[in-house]
Amino acid sequence: MNSRLPRWTIALLWLACLAALGTWVAATLRIGTDLRLFMPAAQTASERLLLDELGEGPGSRLLLLAIEGDHSDALAQTSRALVEALAGDPHFRLLGNGEDPASAIDESLLPYRYLLGSGFDRQPLDAASLRAALDARLRDLASPAAALVEPWLARDPSLELLRLVEAWQPAREPHRYDDLWFSPDQNRALLVAETVAPGFDPDRQRSALDALERAFDSARGERPQRLSISGPGAFSVLIKERTAGEATTLGLAASAAMLLLLIVAYRHWQPVVLSALPLLSAGLAGLAAVGALFDSVHGITLAFGFTLIGVAQDYPIHLFSHQHPRIAPRANARALWPTLATGVVSTCIAYAAFLVSGVTGLAQLGCFTIAGLAVAALSTRFLLPRLMSAGSRDHGARAMPGWLAAAVAPRQVSRLLAPAIAALGVAVVVFAPGPLWENNLGALSPLPPQLLARDIELRGQLGAPDVRYLLVVEAPNVQDMLEAQLRIEPALQELQASGAIGGFDFAARYLPPIRVQLARQAALPDAATLRALLADASAGSPFAAGAFEPFVLDIERARHLQPLDHTALAGTPLELRVGSLLATRADSAIGLIALVGVSDPQALAAFAERRAGQLVLLDMKGASEQLIVRYRERILVCLAIAALLLVVLVRLALGSSARAWRVLLPMGLSTIIVVALLHALGIPMSLFHLIALVLAAGLGLDYALFFERADDDPAEQARTLHAVVVCAISTLLVFALLASSSLPVLRAIGLTVTLGVVSNFVLALMLSRNPGTRMHG
């Protein structure tokens, strides 16, 4: 018999250990938010690009802003004030409202107009073309455009700069009002912001959004205007906040329900308080293990991990339900241990499949769960009994509510039941229509559809690039890649003319290859030649002699410039445009061809097919689906291996094939039933359903093991029944709550586990109890 003193000492020591572990975890654990941790390593070029785009790409950093709720002039004023307020803000690389950002060509690039622009390629600089240009300028001077032309005339009589600006116009310009971007109905002022933080960093995105909202509040003053923000970054913030909010609410509700259940089940404070200790230990041990083995733990790992180790609550419940006055708690724990350990080890084997899945986030989840469950089981076996008193109640002797007693009363079960269920389940899976698997990453997005629709609308109005399709040109270096893009350009123009795409944009449009720039440079006349040409061309015209001397100087400068390459663009207005369309790697350069207004994806696919060696069509949705399929296949293989190991383990632990069969049958059948039910309900399965299935199978195995274990003693059978009923109800409570969630991911897990627990409990009750010890009546 334990004296009171050592019991409290043990409790305090245990708590002290937990506190120390907690402190260490809090100090060292870094929480990551990069969604790519939950993606397998990319294997194809397009998968690599997909992952880059998802995390760091310019598309993922783009926020689309709309200001509305006022008349157009007031909206325009706020739009200008907002841009002014955020100029130089460290959160943003760029904030545009359509107002000329001092034009795309600043003084630093001005001399390069004769190298970057293609004007003289088609029309070499000779006396005839110069005369035509001067005649046209004379007419310009007599036209309403005179004030536009006059300041440039002396430097640029052929208006190369204008041609360049026109060539660089975005493929599709948004509608304008008062010089600013507006929706066509002029009810919304539109802006685009590019954040410094990647889209999937909700914390840094949150601070960027805060800066934006503060600036907007001061820009609008007292006016009743609203700012709405769309785009991957804003969405990741929303997802995080919604998930965290709802998970907290559901978690609190679940905890309260658990507490109530434990009080009803045990009518004593001890089980209620003490059963929290293994769970707490499991959580901290899981965190510590992940913290020690990985750089950072992903937020999703944490959220799911805590859901998964909720199972650890079952271990103390078994101990408390089997406790009665005639057995010492430590002997009780020793007697339960083989069964409990078999269940824990089997569950851990299933989660070990995630450890080797090749996906960091899942490996973390596996590590967290295995460490947590192992610690919960060990503390239930070795620590918890030392804190318990033998108690005065025998939970097995307590009368169950009548409906429950009737429900769990043993029945004679037909031998045909199991094969019938299996056959029916398989038939449903095979013959029911609809997809078995969910390949669309977006289907699990917790965003309301109207937000996504609004994003698409804003994107259309702003002429932002298509989010799904992208053409990719890869070459050993940047120059070869630019050359390749120039070769494809005529075909792209044809594609645009055919209407399949609304427009396109690529790096070579702004930055021709060095070869082209050198050729243009070589074709420029020297100063003496040019002066002679000018004299010839302006003979008899009203232009003053020497009027074009600034032009001669500019050409002379252009003849001696170092050609521009992508590294020389830093600090110029072109840096952003070219930078977002070009990526360099150690041994290759990748050029993106952004597409606007893809209206005929089939024609686009055929276009890319015909040029298979030159470019690749990247279908973001297709690539992500392909990625998910591959990812799931690997996990399924791992799970199949884990299932085999589990069968071997259970057979070894129970020492008899017949017993092993009785334990494994309910679990196997339940898995078939849940899959069939989900399929019949028209719910395609995602990765999260798979995780939930593993969780449900682990629970079912525990139920079956305990039912099977119960020996001839009817009192012990009653205690086991009490334990499993409390376990099943507590799990049901938690996961039924999750199933009511508005977030698809939580709903997927909640529904699957709820179905699984019911099925496992019922089947274990019917199939796992030792036939020789079956009670009658």
Partner: protein, 209 residues
């Protein structure tokens, strides 16, 4: 009767002292569309050895629709429709400019349309407007609004008498001047283009009684 005539001839004398009210002046300049007027436009620039002169017809079709057609020395048509300017030259594709994108284009033609439409709101959206002179010989000065950074037009002066505008004089930041002569005064411009001061004097000359 003589008394009435005396009063009528004295009445203008009384208001000569003060500049006319902008609203009153604009109301008197207002015309019902459509209206046609011949024009001569002369440009003076240091890039040019001699002034550039074109002549043709201005058509006022509506407050925001205007057409400027050059007949000599070549044919060219400019249309302003709302916020877009279309430029059509013989043997060339029509070119298009958005007024919002090129505020420099919001020059003489816009002010011409706004004045004939009597649209003070439109006028004042683009320009700060001041009036000098008298009813009989007034001068409207339009200074473009917007940032000085990319302003290429310094001012537009409209010179006229009573309810007739005669000349629109645009001074550009780059130093060039453009003088648009409309109405009866077109016939007074000599065949040999006068220099700028002579032309401006012609614009301001008092009408024959």
């Amino acid at each position: 009767m003589a008394l009435i005539m005396a009063c009528a001839s004295l009445a203008p004398l009384a208001v000569w002292a003060a500049a006319p009210e902008l609203d009153v002046l604009l109301a008197s300049l207002r015309r019902e569309a459509p209206q046609d007027s011949r024009f001569i436009e002369v440009r003076y620039s240091k890039l040019l050895r001699e002034p550039l002169r074109v002549a043709g017809t201005l058509k006022f079709l509506a407050v925001d629709r205007l057409q400027r057609q050059i007949d000599t020395p070549y044919r060219e048509t400019t249309r302003i429709e709302g916020e877009t300017v279309y430029l059509q030259r013989e043997g060339e594709q029509e070119r298009r400019f958005a007024l919002r994108r090129a505020p420099e284009l919001r020059g003489v033609l816009s002010s011409f349309g706004a004045i004939l439409g009597g649209d003070r709101t439109t006028l004042e959206r683009s320009f700060a407007v001041t009036v000098d002179g008298s009813d009989a010989a007034w001068q409207l000065t339009l200074t473009p609004r917007g940032t000085a950074r990319n302003r290429r037009i310094e001012s537009i002066r409209v010179i006229g008498h009573r309810d007739q505008p005669h000349c629109f004089v645009m001074r550009e930041s780059a130093g060039a001047h453009s003088v648009l002569v409309v109405g009866e005064r077109v016939d007074m411009v000599p065949v040999t283009t006068p220099d700028r001061d002579a032309l401006l004097a012609l614009c301001a000359r008092h009408p024959a009684p």
